[in-house]
Symmetry: C2
Subunit: 214 residues, 2 copies
């Protein structure tokens, strides 16, 4: 019935393994830091886009710091419900962690209106008062990254990790460059590319590296 | 405080407009079908990836058929909660439509176990019995597309549109090619690229084209 289209016979459980083998093969001789490599590969797995081999930059020790935070029971803050949806909450809860997104909250809408800013910016301010450790997973809003930058500069926020991977054409590149200037641990996709799916994939890669899926 | 990083001063409401202007400019002389163009541009807006100029293929009249379905009150079925999250439900509800994802349903888990198939495949079978019109927005699972293909061949499903944009390395290309062989309306991202974000972006582009965001 399927004519000339030939599907590979792969058990569902083996598809991810096979995918990572293909990614490794196509990466060729590229040598990555052993802690960073699974994250880069999962992002490529999620996007089928090898540009991330070049685009993804890690501050020194970012992965270790993030893994420690996860093992302590981290709160992951996202700037979209899509990123929130994509995070493996079962893996996160194994370590006593949780994920939250304040974008749709009424008080965030009100604060944004009052301050003449975006809901993304207001939701970051709200999140900054949560008890740590905190990981920020930003896949959409440059204004979220700009607000995080300002909070850090003002000494009001000390995140365990900033995942800075908004996608787009206006202030996206610039907002990421701001994060690269900070001293906080970061994983940033330089350039225009990124997205909520990329933000979630990086969170999941970190969780799996901690043993969240064993 | 921001050193050499210079942010553009753009009102939040204007960011999308400015982004689409940049996309149009960088597309250059490419001529697209006027009904398909806003969809291609929104996908590029969501991914910052101009490969979709080449990858996205539309069956003749697919956009019109999908828009008619939306105006009648469509049910959009997704294969991930991420895609479901990304769909603008307010726009959809304006036309009496709704979005659903059965992946986490207990009966789907059981059916997949019993049939030795994936939850994605089982969730498509469950969705096939919904009252129409139906749009399937598949951004993750090749097995969802294969199941839709089989249901169509067996005459058990007549969707208003299949959005076939799974991402990945195993059976992804092949499952999309299957959909290209059908007579049903489709929007497919040929090749490896796609994702839940792309599936949601295509749904939203269709909704906005119907006036869902005026």
């Amino acid at each position: 019935m399927e004519g000339k289209v030939k599907l590979q016979e792969v058990l569902p459980a083996d598809i991810e393994k096979r995918s990572f083998e293909i990614i490794s093969r196509e990466m060729g001789d590229v040598k990555l830091d052993p802690l960073e490599e699974p994250i880069v590969k999962r992002v490529i797995h999620t996007s089928a886009d090898f540009d991330y081999l070049e685009n993804l930059v890690f501050s020194p020790g970012a992965v270790e710091t993030a893994m420690e935070a996860i093992l302590q029971g981290v709160t992951i803050v996202t700037d979209t419900n899509m990123a929130w949806s994509g995070i493996n909450k079962r893996a996160l809860e194994r370590f006593g962690g949780k994920a939250c997104c304040f974008m749709a909250d009424e008080d965030v809408r009100e604060a944004a209106g009052k301050d003449g800013t975006t809901r993304a910016a207001a939701s970051m301010k709200k999140a900054a008062s949560l008890p740590g450790p905190l990981i920020f997973a930003i896949g959409n809003a440059p204004t979220a990254l700009v607000t995080l930058y300002e909070l850090i500069q003002e000494g009001r926020l000390c995140p365990a990790l900033i995942i800075g991977v908004p996608v787009g054409f206006v202030n996206v590149v610039e907002s990421k460059e701001l994060i690269l200037k900070t001293d906080v641990p970061y994983i940033v996709a330089r350039g225009r590319k990124g997205g909520s799916n990329i933000a979630a994939a990086i969170c999941n890669a970190l969780l799996y590296q901690c043993g969240g899926r064993d």
